[in-house]
Every structure is written in C-alpha cells, then in structure tokens.
Subunit: 268 residues, 2 copies
C-alpha cells in the first residue's frame, strides 16, 4: 500500500527537465487544487532534477487555478553548488502557466551551527482534544478527506460565524492515512489551514494567494506537526500570513509567509 | 541634477524583454553589489516591461556575487491581469546568472480595504539622535557613501565588538543626496542595514543571502524610513531575518524576509 500523498506527488521525468506532474483529484478546495499541494508537486520535480534531498526555500506565484487533470512542469537547475542548488520551475496545462516557482535545495540538519530561537513556543492542547478542521460552507472539499488537521479549540469561531477577532489559526497537521510528515509534506502543511482572515471577517470564500514562500528548517520527527498562522498587517487590499511549524520534539521545522488578496467586496 | 539611485537603477530596453542593467560602482559591500541594490535594479526592468507602477512582492535568489560592471536582465511577463502582473527575471553577466527573480506588480494604495495592523509600533529616537551606520572592518564600503542610514543607539554594539545579544537592528533609512524614498527604494532599504546576526556573534563578514522577499505595502510619505530587522530562528546553519518598514506618517510601507547562511566557521 502506498500513501495518498506519495501517489499525488508522483512525477515522471520526460527528458530535458520536463516532468509529467498530473494534478490529482481530491486535493482541492471547491474544485481547485490547494496551493500547498501544487507547491509540493512542483517541488517533487524540482528536487528530483537537482538531486538534493530537501527543499530549503521555495517560493511560488500562483497564476491560474488548477482543477484536477494533466499538467507538466518544466524545471531548470540554474545553480548547482557543493552545498545548495537553485532551481526554477513552470507548471503548465495546455500551454498556460499555472504556477511559477523558484527554490533552493540541499541537505537540512537542524543540529548544525549556532542555535538561537526567540519564537514563542506554541502551546497546543493535545491532538485528540482539538476538533477536526471544519470544512463547511456547502461545497465538498477534497482536501478534507486526505488530511487529519485538528484546530485549536479557541480558533474555530470562524466556522460557526463567530470570528474570534484575532487573525490567528493554530492546530495540528497530519495525514488521514498516517503518512509520516517529511520535508515535502511541510509545504502542504503550510497551506492546509483556514486563512486566518476568516477569524477577522468570517468565511470569505476563496482568498487568492499572490506569493507564497516556505523555509524548511528541520527534518520532522514522527508525529503530527504543531502549526500557528497569523497575520500582522491587513491593508491596501492585501494581507500577509506568517506560519510557524514545530514537530513533536519541539523543533522548529518550517516558517512560511504568503501575500494574498483581500476579497474586498465581502469585507467592506 | 539627477539623484544617484536613479542613475544607478537606469535600465535600457534592448527589445524582446532584454534590458541593459549595468551594475554601478559604489553600491557595494567590499566590492560586491548590495543585494537590495541588485533587487531594485532588476525590479526597475521588470516593472518597466509590465508597465505597472509598483513592486507588490518581489523574490530573489542570489547565484553569484556581482562587482560593478556590465550586466543584462532578461524579463518575461508571465501574467498580465487587470489588477496585477507577474514577471520573472534573470540577471546575467558573460552568460552566467547573477540573480533570478520573480515578482508581482501593480498599483498600491494602502488606504484601500479593511485595516488590521498588530505589529508593535517602532519607537525610534529622532533621526538626528541616532549615530550613522558604522561601515567599518577595514575595507571601504561603497554603499556607505550613497546612504544616510542611522542606527538605533541601543543596536550599535556589534560595531565595537560588543554585540547586544539580541538579533535585532533598528534604524532610519535615507539617501545621502536626499532622494525621496519611493517603492523602488524600499527594496534597497530592506537590505541596507547590518545583518542582525552581528548583534549575536559580532561582525562575521559576508553573510550570503539565499532567498530574499520584499512585500511593499504602502507608498512612502516624504522623510526617512523607520526600519526594524530581527531574526527569530538561527539553526541548522541557516537563519531568517524579518524586516518591517514604516514611513514618517507611521504607515507600514514594507515587510521583508530573507533566508541566509550562517558563516559556520566564525560562530563555532
């Protein structure tokens, strides 16, 4: 038996840096593939091409929504150094860009070098004491059946039309089929939670991401990943969302940031 | 009379999305062009090609150091929408990549939409009460003569071999020739301060940036820009640095984040 995420991120080299990267059904929000899933899918092709184990930093710009279906990714290794390699990628369907990305790949060993961590420690209730992510709003959400995301009980107000007023969502990330969370899966974790804007303005529907960057900082130990997402600045029709992810050993394993568009009509 | 920064970021279209983007002398740290200057230079070509006024989000990966000299930038507009355009760029010299970038461009009006800002307000002493950035360490630093950066008196310990122990550097950004700071210049501001690592481990010399993203959030009002840079996570031989920039009216005008390599030899 293979895990669902491995099947969904399987890529086939076609030569010349071109990869077959089909967008699998069931990793969507209302029919469009989740951005974290697309990032992981592209990253699989990118890290294969540069022959490095881990994504260290990957950035994506989303250009068009992607329902399930065929897609290819053109990958180019633009630098291959001793320690790190840099790769650019373009995912397309029918000649139209879906995503453009750039990333740096290499080995990650969080025990190396000096350590200085001043992030607030994330104090989550136990996994079993957190409610499952409420995928509501009418339309079926494929992603919900693949994941076993749990939310902090204090952050679920948005789902019952009682936004907390804090632009924050905390919770646990895990796969429904118990696949271990590796550095590739952290890219999915970074985009698997409800937008924190929902706890300011209620469930706004689709919140288009412009730019999304994930820094992978450690190889996760077994167990679910504790995640915190916050926004500190909503203005000008844009908002940023910062994510921090820790493994079961309390190790920081990833940081993320995205810039997204505020759906203006619903918040004014 | 033209301002130095305008001369240094002048680009000439050569057709087909190719731009002449010479790296001007005097915007360097020990002979290599500053990363923020390179970002601004490329962004000038990118925003010209897509005919949008402001960089909304730009990300760069640095591939090789660039002393002053000739360079070209190949730009491609990969999406041109009603509100935003997305552009990729490659800066080269002698066929070798210097920088790869991807960015989204458009209009910025920070008064639009809902406002929600939870960043700590930066409380800097007045510009004239802050010491000039100490560009020391022996070698001449070209950038120092172009800028009129002032540092918070509490954050200058690194320069006298008394690191503060806090991974933070605050200060004012301005040009020496009093050029107004616009959205292009914010990209330079985001990389014009000493690495915050210096206040943990002393002056380490060159700290190589892997990835650098700037989100421009407002068009600056006249006056120097108040800036704060911090690192929350040093581990695994990598560190992140987060920047926040405000104008004289207290408006958040930019947020930045970079992932960089720790010079391991000097900190162990």
């Amino acid at each position: 038996m293979s895990f669902q995420f491995d099947t969904a991120t399987a890529t086939t080299p076609l030569g010349g840096g071109l990869y077959d990267t089909p967008v699998e059904d069931g990793w969507d929000i209302n029919g469009n593939a989740n951005g974290g899933y697309l990032l992981a899918l592209m990253t699989q092709a990118m890290r294969t091409e540069c022959e490095r184990p881990h994504p260290v930093s990957v950035s994506m710009h989303y250009l068009s929504p992607a329902p399930a279906g065929g897609a290819t990714t053109q990958v180019e290794v633009v630098k291959s150094g001793r320690r790190l390699a840099t790769v650019v990628g373009t995912m397309q369907r029918d000649g139209k860009d879906i995503v453009r990305s750039i990333g740096t790949f290499g080995d990650i060993d969080s025990s190396l070098g000096p350590q200085h961590n001043t992030l607030d420690v994330l104090d989550l209730p136990a996994y079993e004491d957190c409610p499952a992510r409420a995928f509501s709003g009418g339309a079926p959400i494929g992603l919900g059946s693949r994941l076993a995301v749990r939310l902090h009980p204090d952050d679920v107000g948005f789902a019952t039309n009682n936004p907390t007023g804090r632009a924050e969502v905390r919770g646990w990330f895990a796969f429904a089929d118990h696949r271990p969370v590796d550095t590739l899966a952290l890219l999915l974790a970074a985009d698997a939670f409800p937008p924190v804007m929902f706890n300011l303005y209620g469930m706004l529907g689709w919140v288009p991401t412009i730019e999304f960057t994930v820094h992978v900082r450690g190889v996760p130990a077994p167990g679910p990943i504790a995640c915190r997402f916050r926004s500190n600045a909503v203005q000008g029709g844009f908002w940023e969302e910062d994510g921090e992810m820790w493994d079961s050993q309390g190790q920081l394993v990833a940081m993320s940031r995205q810039l997204a568009l505020v759906p203006l009509a619903q918040t004014q």
